[in-house]
Amino acid sequence: MIKIENLTKIFRTEEVETVALDGVCLSVEQGEFVAIMGPSGCGKSTLLNIMGLLDNPTSGSYILDGEEVGHLKESQRTSVRKGKIGFVFQSFNLIDELNVEENIELPLKYIGVPQKERRERVVEILRRLELSHRAKHYPQQLSGGQQQRVAIARAVVMNPKLILADEPTGNLDSKNGLEVMQLLTQLNNEGTTIVMVTHSQRDAGFAQRIVNLLDGQIVPEARL
């Protein structure tokens, strides 16, 4: 599903040039659950952003579903991303002004799902994630675990082929963290490909494969 070859990302400012990714090669198969680990600043989130088409690499190739997407324009990236990739962030990133069901409904609006179908899919996902009683609540009225479940519901409501999770348990206690990981595992079991960035060995243990990054390069686990 994902084939990355010799991917490089360099951040340039007036004075400093930072190599965030340095010749990364990575393949992820359909239905796989991959964890990316590494110390802070090693390039994990940069890689995830590029995989999620939120950013372009400086050089290299990124093939998603057989299509080269590494150097698309912003509008083209948005179009490819829509409905295909779901995101889960460490800090949830729910929109404060929208209630739970409106937050979940958001991606469906952007891919043009008719209102009736949107309602049905939101109700279904709320039921699946046991959030139906919170449908009208606003993010600030929920606990961290509940907010992350809403964020996951928002990521999966459009049935994406790929979910990218950036430290999804980073802001949660262990009990809520465990619940989130079980949820992601369940989604993976249903066929969704998941790529997750994490610091947690326990969370990484839920993945089928762990990729280690150090200084922008993929390294064998022994070097970490």
Binding site: L54, S75, T78, R81, N93, I95, Y110, R154
Partner: protein, 801 residues
């Protein structure tokens, strides 16, 4: 030090918003100071005259007609003998505003006659050179103000020099210290009335002033004045009939007494202290308008309010960005009080910097000569130290108010939560901000509409029908030499290509605020009106339409054409019959013309154009003003030059000034135009400030929504959808504000228009026009900011709190 560092940090981070906000505040403070000087000018009118509260203006009224300031000399003389009166004087207008020459210098100035014994003494005039009174009726010469002496000679020592009027040579016998600009005693040229009007109860064209003794009970005097004067009036006239009365039978005495009562009956008298005349509107020189004065006070308050709301919005909008920094200081040991005081200190410093900038703007304005078309009196900072202090206090208060709520808001979070970055605008704060934005947009809409109304009215006043063809007329004051050649002048001028008609009158219509007032009473009929002596060509030269009876013709002598207002008031009038018994006949009725202030109600003010014949032969030739009607489409400037040349050639060689009437009208209405300009300026300033506010708030709002925009983009929103999302919110607020603003603007506009007897209508298209203007600023800002945020890489905004 932290206060200044923080201000500089925020200024660097939000350069445009900070600079615009500072500029808006500075302009608001400058405007506040200027408006306060204007309010002070009106409020202190006449108060610079010593003992103004004891100086009374005599006012009269006949048969329920409006109160006026016309009186006759014998009555004024006996009023001055009342025990409460310490001193008194009187004035009579000497004709149109005249040009006075000395050497190569010419100055335009009003010329009045005054009482020879006292002249300006009741007003506490200070003599700087020569003397300020005349010893007897043969004593000639004029007294002039120091400012005029300075202009002519560069010194106040002008006694003994001569002025040339174009007709006469006048010796300056005295120089008086100028009266304050904001007083009814004009700094004009005065000559002696001599014996003019003495013993003449029919000539009511004099204005009288009485100064009361310090010990006099002013209120009691005012209360009893009418009755006392009527008694004196009766006794004075009775004295004239004394012999006849003493020799009469009881029946004859009763008849005389009845005749006296019918003569005095319609007359009412009152006095008004100088401190109250400005707003009274009794005389055409009472330039004050209480509603305009109140509007200026409201302008001051509104400028302050708009500036305060704007500044509060600004500080409130940027406060969430301060939460983390401020609470870090709190964690590190800073007290809540010092943090709050620091935050308030920042806004106070910004407000005071804006105040200083504002005063610098005022200073720059004082260097700009055209400012006199905008303000009355001095606007120099040093002349208004209390107002300067007041403006500084207002700046301080705005600083405190704008800083207090944001300071409380920023420090209201638990420091631990704030440090984690889990903060944002609370729902209450968001509601408040939405309310403030809506308020700001509403104010902008109201002001934009209001300015539109002011501009329309201003345009209407200038272009509306004056009742005569002001655009094609010019006039000139004739010298004695030229007065003798009126027929020849007429023939010569009519021979010029482009001259359509020529006539003569006592006044140039619309070129003055003071005209001759006439009053007549006979039996139960009495009239009081503005008298305009003219020749028989006059109405057709001026383009004044006759609507009943007929126009004057060459055979007419001693007759009136009255205006519509007079016709309505004097219901008994019949064509070709005497106005009242023993008076001149009325031969026609003409349309009402505008001849004085814009606020003068031409629909109700009676005017009579009079041909003075045999009956007024003793008055001499009063028709000293030449009126020339030019053909439309001619080169007016060239023709004026040609007329000037011809008049100079036919006279004694002195240059004759020919003026365009439309230019003079603009001069006459300068108070009104100035007020309109002030209000328009005020409106534009407020509008700019509120639009700056709308711009800043939209900018901040977009800044806050950057993260939301990022999230939406991550989940598939296009840039257009994001821009539409942002602008649709403002569109909703705009429409809501529009619904509120329309009735408000309409009400304010119609209240203001009430000041004018002739006014423009409030056109419906003003409202959508205001919506388009404010909408453009709002939506354009929202679109630009929204587009900027929408095209940003979403991962940058998602990471930020």
């Amino acid at each position: 030090m932290d206060v200044f560092r923080n201000i500089l940090y925020m200024a660097r981070r939000f350069k445009t918003a900070t600079l615009l906000n500072l500029a808006g505040l500075a302009v608001a403070f400058a405007a506040l100071f200027l408006f306060l000087t204007q309010v002070e000018y009106s409020a202190s009118y006449n108060r610079g005259i010593p003992n103004a509260e004891r100086i009374m203006r005599v006012e009269t009224m006949m048969n329920g007609a409006p109160w006026n300031t016309n009186c006759c000399v014998p009555l004024l003389e006996v009023m001055m003998e009342m025990p409460e009166v310490e001193s008194g004087t009187m004035f009579s207008y000497r004709g149109s505003t005249s040009e006075f020459y000395m050497g190569s210098t010419s100055v335009k100035c009003d010329w009045f006659g005054t009482r020879k014994e006292t002249s300006l003494e009741p007003f506490g005039a200070v003599c700087l050179d020569g003397k300020l009174n005349w010893k007897d009726d043969t004593d000639q010469g004029v007294i002039i103000p120091a400012s005029l002496a300075q202009r002519f000679l560069g010194t106040t020592m002008a006694a003994g020099h001569y002025l040339w009027t174009g007709k006469d040579s006048l010796q300056i016998i005295g120089v008086y210290q100028d009266f304050p600009d904001n007083s009814c005693v004009g700094n004009m040229i005065y000559s002696s009335l001599g014996g003019e009007g003495e013993h003449d109860f029919s000539e009511w064209s004099f204005k009288g002033y009485l100064r009361l003794h310090k010990t006099a009970d002013v209120e009691a005097f005012r209360k009893e004045f009418s009755d006392k004067v009527r008694t004196i009036f009766r006794a004075t006239i009775m004295a004239e009939y004394a012999e006849e009365y003493n020799n009469a039978t009881p029946e004859q005495r009763a008849a005389i007494e009845q005749q006296l009562d019918s003569k005095i009956g319609p007359h009412n008298f009152r006095v008004t202290p100088l401190t109250e005349t400005y707003f009274s509107g009794t005389d055409s020189g009472d330039r004050g308008n209480r509603i305009m004065h109140l509007i200026l006070i409201w302008a001051c308050i509104l400028v302050v309010l708009v500036a305060a709301i704007n500044f509060l919005n600004f500080t409130l909008a940027e406060s969430p960005m301060r939460v983390k920094g401020v609470n870090t200081r709190r964690v590190l040991g800073s007290s809540l009080t010092s943090l709050r005081l620091g935050l308030i200190g920042e806004t106070v410093v910004i407000a005071l910097v804006a105040f200083l900038l504002g005063m610098f703007i005022v200073y720059l304005l004082t260097q700009w000569t055209a400012i006199t078309t905008l303000v009355q009196g001095s606007i120099k900072l040093q002349d208004h130290l209390p107002l300067l202090g007041l403006t500084a206090l207002v700046a301080l208060a705005i600083g405190v108010v704008a800083g207090a709520y944001p300071a409380w808001f920023v420090t209201s979070f638990q420091p631990a939560m704030a440090l984690k970055g889990a903060f944002g605008l609370t729902p209450r704060g968001r509601r408040l901000r939405t309310l403030l934005v809506s308020l700001q947009i509403t104010i902008s809409l109201v002001l934009a509409t209001y300015i539109g109304i002011l501009m329309l009215q201003s345009r209407y006043i200038y272009h509306s029908d004056y009742g005569f063809d002001k655009d094609e007329l010019c006039y000139a004051a004739l010298s004695q030499e030229l007065l003798k050649k009126k027929d020849a002048i007429r023939t010569e001028l009519l021979g010029m290509g482009g001259v359509e008609d020529v006539s003569y009158s006592a006044f140039a219509l619309g070129s003055s605020t003071g005209y001759m007032g006439w009053g007549r009473a006979q039996g139960d009929k009495s009239v009081s009106f503005t008298s305009m002596p003219v020749d028989w060509h006059y109405l057709r030269t001026m383009g004044i339409k006759v609507i009943e009876g007929r126009d004057f013709n060459e055979h007419d002598s001693d007759c009136y054409i009255i205006n519509e207002a007079a016709r309505k008031r004097w219901t008994w009038v019949e064509m070709n019959k005497e106005l009242i018994d023993g008076d001149l006949p009325v031969v026609g009725v003409c349309e009402n013309v505008r001849y004085a202030s814009i606020r003068q109600d031409r629909e109700t003010d009676p005017v009579a154009f009079v041909i003075m014949g045999e009956r007024y032969a003793a008055w001499g030739d009063r028709l000293g003003t030449l009126n020339v009607r030019l053909a439309a489409g001619t080169d007016k400037l060239a023709l004026r030059k040609q007329i000037q040349g011809k008049l100079t050639e036919m006279g004694d060689g002195s240059t004759v000034e020919v003026h365009f009437l439309d230019e003079e009208l603009e001069h006459l209405y300068q108070d009104e135009f100035r007020f309109i300009r002030q209000v328009i300026l005020f409106g534009i300033i407020c509008l700019i400030i509120t639009l700056i506010g709308v711009f800043c708030l939209t900018m901040f709002e977009t800044e806050y929504r950057r993260k939301e925009i990022g999230i939406r983009k991550v989940f598939g929103s296009t840039e257009r959808q994001i821009v539409r999302l942002l602008t649709s919110r403002y569109l909703q607020l705009l429409l809501l504000a529009f619904v509120i603003a329309v009735p408000l603007a309409w009400y304010m506009g119609s209240q203001w228009l009430e000041n004018f007897t002739e006014r423009t209508m409030i056109h419906w298209w003003l409202f959508p026009l205001a919506l388009i203007l404010v909408g453009l600023v709002t939506l354009l800002t929202a679109t630009i900011q929204g587009w900027r945020a929408a095209t940003e890489n979403p991962i940058n905004s998602i990471k930020t709190e």
